[in-house]
């Protein structure tokens, strides 16, 4: 018989590996945050420039087709981020000699993207009805809920990223003029910090 400690460690590792998607790339988090910050910079020049990126300039968003431009930018950031995470996590799986497409990774993706997809549709409704001031908080809140939901199926640390997004989302809901600023904190700065932490903790 093997040592009982070894036996328990074996059991624990199997339980984790069969339920959790552990090769989500930290570097892709840093890149996703960078895309978001660049996009926020571009949005800033459209909405606020040359004023500071906060205050009550929200009315300007309704000007000539700027909403459409913002939505296309957001969509590009979303697709780039997902694409980067996908490719880099696949490489990560190869490096760690584990499979990328497992019941665990499927569950992770499902847990994350059901709230995110519903949130996306909800935001389209908000835009179409003209409630522009609550779009940024809504994206943060739905993303935070998705992360919280997905934390059962990957490294538990992602939970804290979820809490941060939720807190920023709620704050932003009450401070309509600061939407872009808080959005770049959540999707930009938080992703960079979280991605870097994950990279140092698990990927090196």
């Amino acid at each position: 018989m093997r040592k009982p400690e070894q036996e328990l460690a074996e059991i624990k590792s199997m339980m984790e590996r069969s339920t959790r998607f552990l090769t989500l790339s930290g570097l892709s988090g840093i890149l996703a945050g960078t895309y978001a910050l660049i996009a926020a910079g571009i949005a800033y020049t459209w909405i606020y420039y040359p004023e500071l990126p906060y205050g009550s300039n929200i009315d300007k968003i309704s000007e000539d087709g700027i909403v459409g431009k913002l939505m296309i930018t957001a969509l590009i950031v979303l697709l780039l981020s997902i694409g980067t995470a996908w490719v880099m996590s696949q490489n990560n799986s190869k490096k760690k000699a584990t499979k990328f497409w497992t019941p665990a990774s499927k569950r992770f993706i499902q847990a994350l993207f059901i709230p995110v997809a519903i949130g996306g549709i909800f935001c389209l409704a908000l835009v179409s009805r003209g409630h522009l001031a609550v779009v940024a908080p809504a994206t943060l809140i739905f993303y935070g809920l998705g992360l919280l939901n997905a934390s059962h199926f990957t490294h538990n640390d992602i939970k804290y990223l979820g809490y941060c997004q939720l807190a920023l989302g709620v704050i932003s809901a009450f401070l309509p003029g600061f939407g872009l600023l808080l959005w770049s904190l959540g999707f930009g700065v938080m992703h960079v910090i979280y991605g870097a932490m994950m990279y140092y903790k698990y990927d090196r």
Partner: protein
């Protein structure tokens, strides 16, 4: 001494299979094969063994045209695994000075 050392889990493949089924409602043959990195024949014989002891149940279906064999732990299997875990935990406790 509390718990029971179960011979069924003496083999590491069977121990791993049962660990996975404790935390997944069901798990299919190919996913087992990938995660455990064992051959078809080896895996099949261990699954058969657990099935014979009525620790796991088998459900065969089709996903499109591909056959899909899903396994899940029975109540009896879960109880036996709990007993086995308890035995290991007690063993560790007793060996501590």
């Amino acid at each position: 001494m509390k718990g029971n050392y179960d011979k069924a889990f003496e083999n590491v493949v069977r121990l791993r299979v049962m660990s996975i089924l404790m935390v997944n409602d069901e798990f299919d043959f190919n996913s087992f094969k990938e995660l455990l990195d064992v051959t078809d024949g080896n895996l099949a014989s261990h699954l058969k063994n657990l099935e014979k002891q009525e620790y796991i149940s088998v459900a065969k279906s089709f996903l499109g045209r591909k056959p899909l064999t899903n396994y899940s732990a029975t109540a009896q299997g879960k109880a036996a695994f709990q007993d086995h875990l308890e035995f290991l935990e007690n063993l560790i406790k007793e060996n501590k000075p």
